[in-house]
């Protein structure tokens, strides 16, 4: 089976397929560039923070920025996004404030999820951006369910789930794909094939040459796209969303990209992969390619690029000062909230018990490290 890789521009940013080129205004181009650069710089800074021990855990999307920022641009704000964990740019694109982003990483008193979740699991209901679950793949059926609800309620919204190629091995991915196609829901299953699942290469997940072709077995279109070409991402996600809104059902998209960084701040890829490989992918950097495209269109001049970088650095600096100066812990009583819709009797008793304990012995002091 041979699928064409959908591209709009080449590695030098030259337009290969004008018929697919999304018509974007100069402002839109600048916003896309800015968001990609923001994610790039933010990832660098946050990873450094992690290395300095100022925060517990981090994951970057180095080299994969175009996949999700392109997709976010192609969707409407009312559409639902279920990210895995390398798609924070989609929330930032929709206006997630940097200060809040960092409070989540610290799990501090202004973390919108109240210090409950691991860093990078941002949930922003008001932006229709939901990340709750750590077991890989477990959010995919939620996107299908949300799409199903949109269909039942005739809202015209679509739901998009991002997941890695590794997650395509989970049973729940297959169940979700089957359900989505069978019930013809407006879902987009977007597989970020970044070549690796921790130390396992993508060839260790499946015997098929592409992930996109799995769509055929479930009865939906499968699309292969250059994930480092943001214009191609916008093109294919727009088409998939339009199909969904027309009532024609789901689409599976495989975005070919590459995880240039470590899996997470706890991983060291030099142990299992040839460093020449990520180096090679630097030549296909999604931000550089898009920059060249924008320059050729006369939108990105040197001043814009320098100014954007400066502004991003300043904003990150300010957000960090803000987040690090918030009280580091959510109120103790918050522990007892949200376990159930109402605080049940046994938890009210525990809360009272904890208060009494603290009155006698003081709060438990966390160990260092």
């Amino acid at each position: 089976m041979k699928l064409e890789v959908t591209r709009v521009i080449d590695d030098e940013g030259r337009v290969l397929h004008p018929e697919r080129e999304p018509a974007l205004s100069s402002d839109e181009l600048r916003r896309l560039y800015r968001t990609m650069l923001l994610v790039r710089i933010l990832d660098e800074r946050m990873l450094r923070l992690r290395m300095q021990g100022r925060m517990g855990f981090y994951l970057t999307s180095l080299g994969e920025e175009a996949t999700h920022i392109g997709a976010a641009h192609a969707l409407r704000d009312a559409d639902w996004i279920y990210p895995a964990y390398r798609e924070i740019g989609a929330a930032l694109f929709r206006g997630y404030p940097l200060g809040t982003f960092m409070c989540q990483l610290f799990g501090n008193s202004e973390d919108p999820v109240k210090g409950r979740q691991m860093p990078v699991h941002h949930s922003v209901k008001r932006l229709n951006f939901v990340s709750v679950s750590s077991p890989v793949g477990s959010h995919i059926p939620h996107a299908v369910g949300t799409a199903w609800a949109a269909k039942l309620q005739k809202t015209q919204d679509v739901a998009l789930a991002f997941f890695g190629e590794g997650a395509s091995s989970t049973p729940i991915f297959h169940v979700s794909a089957n359900f989505a196609a069978l019930y013809k829901v407006p879902a987009i299953l977007l597989c970020r094939n970044n070549g690796w699942a921790i130390s396992v290469p993508s060839s260790g997940q499946t015997a098929t040459p592409t992930f996109a072709q799995k769509a055929i077995a479930y009865g939906m279109p499968g699309v292969l796209v250059d994930g480092n070409d943001i214009l191609a991402m916008i093109h294919v996600v727009r088409e998939a969303a339009a199909r969904g809104r027309r009532g024609e059902g789901p689409t599976l998209i495989e975005a070919r990209t590459y995880r240039r960084g470590a899996h997470s701040s706890s991983d060291d890829p030099s142990k299992y992969r040839d460093p020449a490989e990520p180096k090679e992918w630097e030549r296909r950097d999604p931000i550089d390619r898009f920059l060249k495209y924008g320059q050729a269109r006369g939108v990105f001049d040197a001043e814009f690029v320098a100014h954007t970088r400066q502004e991003i650095n300043r904003e990150i600096g300010e957000a960090l000062i803000y987040a690090e100066s918030r009280p580091p812990k959510p109120p103790l009583h918050s522990l007892f909230e949200d376990v159930y819709a109402e605080i049940p009797r046994h938890l009210r008793e525990q809360a009272a018990g904890l208060e009494a304990e603290i009155a006698r012995h003081g709060e438990k002091v966390p160990p260092r490290g």
Partner: protein, 326 residues
């Protein structure tokens, strides 16, 4: 005797058994080229090759089930779960299949299979990565549940688990992997279902397993400084449970505190408390007490998390309460 880390003790157990019996293979995510997420399988791929040390796709429901199928026809799989937190996606295979196939087939099929991996909270990993799952597995007839607390027990119990002809849930405390401890030089095993007195004492029995043994021992140290001699008993296997040794200890000390990292409701401690209450009713000088994890999903923030896990000061206070010293 020599000193090894907990993870090395497990590695030795697997390697020694694989050396002796070529029906044994190890399968799971990242167990081969990566040496395991927690380096338990270090060097095993090199030593035994790709047919016996198998990296899988991310599909717990898949490789747990595949392991079961291989065990049904005579192989002896060791299935590594990257953590027990992800075993839930394989719950149907574990609960409806591994635990029941022997019984449902009228004894025709035997399942000599070990499911192993880290469990418990490991500090700042939040709700889906910090769960103590032993109470769930111990609830299921057909499964044995093993939880070593130190390198010596880890090696001896894992070897017994691999040789056992039943499906075994083997839970390794995620924060224990780097712990050092002495183990015997030569070949040894520790039978499943046999508890151990980790510290003898006369005044109160502290029961804990896996990493709670460390809390219990530290609690006993703190109590000793105040002239109270606590006996620390580690069941080592949750199922089958060595009720006799627990009862014997409590009959002697007349007081019992169970320290459990997991949730209280339907916890392992609840079961133990029932058994002790029933058999030691006339001996007890105070009701059996439990110190458990908080009854909620684990938060991430380290201040909050700390309030949710049993610690030594709380255990000391609970013990003194049972001794009517507070």
């Amino acid at each position: 005797m020599r000193t090894v880390a907990f993870r090395e003790a497990l590695n030795e157990a697997i390697a020694e058994e694989m050396e002796k019996d070529d029906r044994i293979f190890l399968m799971g995510e990242e167990v081969g080229h990566y040496d395991g997420a927690y380096k338990v399988s270090k060097g095993l791929l090199k030593r035994f090759g790709e047919k016996r040390v198998i990296d899988t796709p991310i599909a717990e429901g898949g490789f747990v089930g595949v392991g079961i199928g291989a065990a049904m026809v005579g192989l002896r799989p060791i299935i590594e779960l990257m953590t027990w937190n992800f075993s839930f996606v394989a719950a149907d295979q574990l609960i409806n299949n591994a635990a029941k196939i022997r019984q449902m087939s009228g004894g025709q099929f035997t399942l000599p299979i070990v499911f192993r991996g880290p469990g418990g909270s490991a500090h700042m990993l939040a709700a889906q990565h910090s769960q103590s799952t032993e109470a769930l597995w111990a609830h299921i007839p057909g499964l044995k549940v093993v939880m070593p607390a130190n390198p010596k027990d880890a090696k001896g119990l894992l070897k017994s688990a691999i040789r056992d002809n039943n499906p075994i849930v083997f839970i390794e405390g995620e924060v224990l992997y780097a712990d050092q401890g002495e183990i015997p030089d030569g070949e040894y095993t520790i039978p499943l279902g046999v508890a151990e007195v980790k510290r003898p004492g006369t005044d109160i029995t502290l029961i804990g397993w896996s990493k709670m043994v460390k809390i219990a021992l530290a609690t006993a140290d703190a109590l000793a400084a105040e002239g109270i001699e606590a006996e620390v008993v580690d069941p080592r296997t949750i199922r089958p449970l060595d009720e006799e040794l627990l009862v014997e200890s409590v009959k002697k000390t007349k007081r019992c505190l169970i320290i459990e990292e997991g949730w209280p409701f339907n916890g392992v401690g609840a079961e133990i408390a029932y058994r002790i209450g029933r058999r030691c009713f006339d001996d007890l000088d105070a009701p059996v007490e439990r110190l458990t994890g908080a009854d909620m999903p684990m938060p991430y923030n380290h201040h909050l998390e700390q309030q949710c896990i049993p610690d030594v000061p709380r255990a000391v206070a609970a013990a003194k309460k049972l001794l009517y010293l507070e």
